[in-house]
Symmetry: C2
Subunit: 198 residues, 2 copies
Amino acid sequence: MKVVVLFSGGKDSALASILLEPFFDVELATFAFGPYSTDEAAAEAAEVLDLPHRTIVFDDEVLQEALGMLLAAGYPRDGINHLHRCALEVLSEKEEFVADGTKREDRVPMMSPDGVRSLEDRKKVHYIRPLAGYGSKTINALASSYMDFETLNSEALPASDFEVGLRLALKERCGQEAIARTFPAHHMHTRVIRRKRI
Amino acid sequence: MKVVVLFSGGKDSALASILLEPFFDVELATFAFGPYSTDEAAAEAAEVLDLPHRTIVFDDEVLQEALGMLLAAGYPRDGINHLHRCALEVLSEKEEFVADGTKREDRVPMMSPDGVRSLEDRKKVHYIRPLAGYGSKTINALASSYMDFETLNSEALPASDFEVGLRLALKERCGQEAIARTFPAHHMHTRVIRRKRI
């Protein structure tokens, strides 16, 4: 059985993939935004993990919708959730099993229980969250056993996650000042730099 | 790293154990009630899975408390949740990693997010729910790949889960009529009868 995992290059989606690997043929998928090469970090991390990887480019419309939600709310939650939901919908068009690295304590991105049921029923897909039953402390212990990773500031080195794409698009359209109004001051992310086989 | 999994002999706790097996040394633990041999089904299923298993007998006091909650509420939820919480507390006294087979759609037994945080903080334990991010449809697909199991009526063949122990205790103390008042008419459970290695 094959599963496609939404992959940002960070420790959570990497660990989710490692937990699935004994039971599925794992393929990693990263969503990028037309004008920006936000998939580079994930492509490099996928190589480190030795797992197949592909990039899918969001339709411009999806990015516009997410930006609209972001500006309407004044905070990024709705826009990021929209990108996450759209990414799962796109994957579910062709795949039977899709997964991501969202964990027990995550708030954003996160689908509601109704949203999950709707996705699974409409698309006849299995949506798996391998880390949903793991706390951050447990995830850090397991991640440290199976990989080396570093924590980085996304302004210096962009991550391949949804927030980074939204920040770039917002900056281009509304300027740096709009980012300061809408997002937290710093966006940190993790990046896998070595896989440990134990 | 060792993890102890709360085990009833059924497909959910068996699948949870199988998902953990590539990453942990898995031991199965079943809680029984002093006067009743409710651990037999689980002990047999553990042998089928070829995983180490032990039985822990609940203190009489715990069973009394659960019965009290059951009778006060008029339905089994609070009593079953009490047994589940007590079982995790007992395991957490000596173990660093504990797990169970509760899944995404389960309502009972289920710890609240606050209860989980409290358990993990007080006991310095990692509590893992490997199936928390899997829906029933996905669990059935995976379980069928890794084991044969049958679905049984617990009155004919008792399961090793918390409800069966509570039913036996309630019947002894208050008679069959009290069971009819408090529990659903039939309690069905699954039992692992063969492990498939693929």
